[in-house]
Symmetry: C2
Subunit: 183 residues, 2 copies
DNA sequence: TTGATTTAGTTCTACATAGAACTATATAGT
DNA sequence: ACTATATAGTTCTATGTAGAACTAAATCAA
């Protein structure tokens, strides 16, 4: 386990038992109409943290979320990727991706070979072990997701998805305007 | 700046320009009906990361999110809190809260005094400087939130809030069942 | 009262991360 | 062609974080 990065954006606003009232009330410090925004990002921060904890707790062999994330990306979108493109896809720094790939390499979950077309570059490939690890991770999380879907209802998530995607797209656009996109 | 904790749960699934298709398609590895769940947590992870980056970028004086979070908590819910209760409120380890409070102390944003009723404990108090810093931070983020509200519409956030709260409450409950709550 | 257990907080180690400095290669300008 | 600039990746430093080992104080049991 490590880090937690997972800091919720604003703070769980209640010191009470848990977060049963989190950000519900008005906050005089905020202009009218912004409480909802503040509150939404707060909820998102808390959910991210709790969900990551839970996910990492069931991940096989002490695999951490960043490791799984990269493996999953390589399986879903194909391997033979540069560190640069991985760093961009995850919006992390180059140094961070170097570190993550080195950990995966040390576990034998990926292979790294020089880019035949660019002497500066490297290409990252999945190993069989890496694919298996990714599948195991998904198998490990599936029961959790099932419980969750059963207790809260899938509709809740179906309603949430397009709305969250809209916010994500906006943030994404602000961070990476078309001018600085890359293929 | 530091860390990033901010790891999105699953991975931005596209290496393409940005995240325009993030987790939209079916993922054969997941049982039917779980794609939505997976996708929602993925979006939440990405949003958390991007939003935190943006927030920290405008925060005064290199203040980081955890620092602001604690200041905000103390303003909103009152100071004179134990490290223990702060750690619980934010669901971070005791060691983490020791670190955060020490940073705030070094900046003169809080005071820490021994608990008069418990020789083991300490109490954390806001300083005037701490209150001002919290207000400045909110002032700094307000324009960002305004733009956001204007471009996406407040309704979007109003619709999101109760649904996210439901998920947060569930995760919270799973992590801290009534049996281990505290006052 | 005395001894065992629990609790508040700190410290230590290992990790993820950002950002800056650096190296090596590629590309652009002339 | 040669030089300047841009790019891919690594390394270094400072941070946030978890978790375990540790200290000191409170509580519980006998």
């Amino acid at each position: 386990m490590a880090r937690e990065n997972p800091h919720h954006l604003i703070s769980r606003t209640t010191g009470a038992p848990c977060h049963t009232e989190a950000m519900g009330e008005k906050d005089g410090a905020l202009p009218a109409g912004q409480n909802h925004l503040f509150a939404v990002f707060n909820e998102i921060g808390i959910i991210e943290q709790l969900a990551r904890h839970r996910f990492e707790a069931v991940l096989p062999d002490g695999l951490l979320l960043p490791h799984f994330s990269v493996l999953n990306h390589l399986v879903r979108l194909g391997d033979d990727k540069s560190l640069k493109s991985l760093a961009f896809a995850f919006q992390v720094s180059k140094g961070t991706m170097t570190n993550t790939v080195q950990r995966l390499l040390a576990r034998g979950l990926v292979e790294v070979r020089p880019d035949p077309k660019d002497g500066r570059g490297k290409r990252v490939f999945l190993t069989e072990s890496g694919r298996r690890m990714r599948d195991d991770a998904i198998a490990a999380i599936t029961p959790e997701l099932s419980t969750f879907a059963a207790e809260l209802g899938e509709d809740l998530f179906a309603e949430l998805l397009p709305r969250l995607a809209k916010i994500r797209a906006k943030l994404d656009y602000m961070r990476n305007p078309p001018s600085k996109r890359e293929a």
